[in-house]
Every structure is written in structure tokens, then in C-alpha cells.
Amino acid sequence: MGSLLLLLTLSGCSSIPVSYYDATTYAQLTALKAEATFLVESFDQKPASDNQDEINKVTLSFRKIYEYEKGKGKSNSDTIKQFEKIQNLFNYDVKNYMESGHQSLGRNYFREASVILGKAFDIAIATENLKNKH
């Protein structure tokens, strides 16, 4: 009986911030993955001047989703942490593209950078799927 009470006490602890599965987050991440990887892949073919509008559009999408995730509060800190890192990967790709130009890091550099960005999104999407549903 003592062990059972201990287990019940532990089960009632709420010290671990936990967020629940959010279908909106899942949909936003999958949509942004497609947009962002498609854009970064194009960096190998197009000069930066031809891509500015698309870069602005995807950057804005990143910011909107970041604000949505941040708005969920402390319990969502894991997803925010992941999203910040994905956003940094994207910003780093854009910075390299703007500063070095296309093809200066290798003719297929951004194709590989796009694969990495896609993997980062896949992990975040898988993370959302791991969360419990309400």
C-alpha cells in the first residue's frame, strides 16, 4: 500500500512542463518545411536578386509560426527550442546565399543544405507526433 501511495504521489507531480499535441503546429510545420526546403534548394540555380521576394515571404512565415509557438507559454519550451534552431538553420542558409552568392560554396551546396533543413523539420514534426493528445 505504501508503494502504491508513493506512486500516486509521484504521478500527481506536475514539475515537468508538458505540452500536448497540436494539429495546427503539425500542419504549420509540414507546410513550412515544403516552402523553406523548396526555396533553399533553388539557391543553387538562382542569383539572390531573383529570390528576394520568396525569401521575405518564407521569413515572414517563420516569424508567424514562431509567435504562435511562443504564445503557448513555458510548457511549449521544447518545441520553441527546436523551432529556433530550425529558424537559425534557415537564416544561416539565407546569409550564406546573400553573402557568398549561388554556387560559391559548391554547385550542389544548397541542395544539401536543403536536405539538412528538411531533416530538422522532420525531427520537429516527429516530436509533435510524440506528444500526448488531450
Binding site: 500527481g12 515537468i16 560554396l105 530538422a120
Partner: protein
């Protein structure tokens, strides 16, 4: 011999035999790892090394891609943490539901 090992052999001369073998062993064992994540990281590294050897990537581009492996690992670490938290949460909720609501109602 694969293009990857050929290139590693050409970069590390005989004086760096230890590093050369350690790198080849690390990639070989990682490619056989049970974790999809570790396996994919090793496969990516091998592919970039071959691309560097073939001139598809510059040395700077190669280094930038390799550095990104660390960021991916940090994102994966968060996934593992969330998985553990979700399991703990399921256990706690299951105990509450089964023991408190059902079992205690019978006592």
C-alpha cells in the same frame, strides 16, 4: 575501396594513420547503428565527403555542412526528451485513471 575511403586515405597521410582509421571506423559503425538518426548522419557525412572529392562542394561549403550536424543533433536531443516526458505523462495519467478512478472506487 569506396570513393569515401579513397579520399580519406588521400587526405590523411601515413603519419595520421590513427585518425584515418578512427574516422573510417566511426562512419562504418555509425552506418550500422540501430538509430535512424545516427545512420542518416553518417550517410550524409560520407556523401558530402565524396562530393568534396568530386569538386561538387568547396572545402568551406563542406565545413559548413559538417557543422550543421551538431545543430541537427541538438534538435534530435529535444525529440528524445519530449518522448521521455510524454511516456512519463502517460504513466502518470494511466495511474490516476486506473488506480484512483477505477480501483479505489471498488475499495
Amino acid at each position: 575501396m569506396s570513393k569515401f575511403t579513397d579520399f580519406v586515405d588521400s587526405v590523411f597521410d601515413e603519419s595520421k594513420l590513427l585518425e584515418r582509421n578512427a574516422l573510417k571506423k566511426l562512419i562504418l559503425t555509425s552506418k550500422n547503428n540501430t538509430s535512424d538518426f545516427v545512420r542518416l548522419q553518417a550517410e550524409s557525412f560520407e556523401r558530402w565527403t565524396v562530393m568534396l572529392a568530386d569538386g561538387e562542394l568547396t572545402a568551406t561549403g563542406y565545413k559548413k555542412l559538417v557543422k550543421k550536424m551538431e545543430i541537427l543533433t541538438q534538435i534530435e536531443e529535444v525529440r528524445l526528451t519530449v518522448g521521455a516526458k510524454a511516456s512519463a505523462q502517460r504513466l502518470a495519467s494511466g495511474i490516476q485513471e486506473i488506480v484512483i478512478k477505477r480501483l479505489f472506487s471498488l475499495i
